[in-house]
């Protein structure tokens, strides 16, 4: 191998200890955020279930009040984007082979063609987000440099992964970059805007409000 010692060191670090360190920081960060969220909650005010109310509209679902109605294209783009963000790395054949070699355990894997196709879809969605942020006034007006950094962190591991799979440019450099960026992203999840990954689940499934899946009579306390 003719690579420089620095890149070899980075490769070995990214392939070995950094994976476990980033995973550990991620898990500890998620626990910390869940505890922080729990501390913000208060004792539940007694409420009636919507089904117990006499109001027939209490359980009515009005699609006109959802993002699906107001932004159908964005709903599809964002749903596909977030689904791919989770399933591609988990069920990628190469990741599972590495996992199997390391701890003798692996998940099911997509075929390489499917993963490749999903990665392309993911990149298209990511660029739709970027163009929206740049060219749509309403998004641009509240965008900051930090939003672009977050976009970069979310899309760079997938773009470099795609380049590495197709062996475009210098494979060794690209795959090292891919691993480092992926690990940075995992570390960033609990401590940056990516934390909405954790809070989305909490808000939709656990916190009682008129939009959550525990759709009961809302009790506003402010």
């Amino acid at each position: 191998m003719t690579e420089s010692p620095l890149i070899l060191l980075l490769y070995n670090l990214a392939r070995g200890p950094l994976v476990w360190i980033s995973g550990l920081i991620f898990i500890m960060g998620v626990i910390y955020q869940c505890v922080s969220m729990y501390k913000l909650t208060q004792k539940q005010i007694p409420f009636m279930k919507a089904s117990q109310l006499n109001d027939p509209d209490a359980l009515k679902f009005d699609i006109k009040q959802t993002v699906l109605y107001t932004h159908p294209v964005m709903t599809v783009v964002t749903s596909v984007f977030h689904m791919c963000l989770i399933i591609i790395p988990l069920f990628l054949l190469a990741h599972n082979i590495l996992l199997d070699q390391s701890i003798g355990f692996s998940l099911l894997s997509f075929s390489e063609n499917i993963s490749d196709f999903l990665t392309m879809i993911y990149c298209v969605c990511a660029f739709i987000f970027l163009f929206r942020r740049i060219f749509l006034k309403r998004v641009r007006i509240i965008s900051t440099f930090y939003d672009y950094v977050i976009w970069f962190l979310a899309s760079a591991p997938f773009i470099t992964g795609f380049l590495a799979y197709h062996q475009l440019f210098n494979y060794f450099w690209i795959v090292t970059l891919h691993m480092i960026l992926g690990e940075l992203m995992i570390i960033a999840i609990p401590f940056t805007k990516f934390a909405h990954m954790i809070y989305f689940i909490i808000f939709r499934f656990f916190v009682v409000n008129e939009y959550s899946l525990r759709r009961l009579q809302a009790t506003r306390t402010f």
Binding site: L40, V67, V139, S143, T144, K193, F200, N209
Partner: protein, 132 residues
Amino acid sequence: MENLNNVEQTIAVQSQDTCQLLNTFKDKMTLSLKVCAHCTLCAESCFMFMKNNKDPHYMPSYKFINSIGVIYKKKGNLKRNDLEKMKDIVWKHCVLCTRCYCPIGIDIPSMISTARSYCRAQGVYPEFDEIY
């Protein structure tokens, strides 16, 4: 006297009550500002936005970021001019109807309400004879 007025225009009074108010809501503000993805999908849920030709200044996220977000970033040390600008955002551009919808689940009305409390504690609020 004119200089004194200028000074008053640039310094916000920080009473103990106001600091306490900010400390009470600090964690909720931090969390809400941290998770806001600046996606603007909340915009159409605001009737003020819809009735004002979809002016982005009426988006719930814009109002939330430019009121409580500014208070949070400056740790409450705002100039009176900042508060006067905020007055329009929290009173004129929002009626606290609580119909805004955030896909992530941020309680935007609660945040605007906190910004209103902060402004009111600093003596910045709309007069009854002000026409909006």
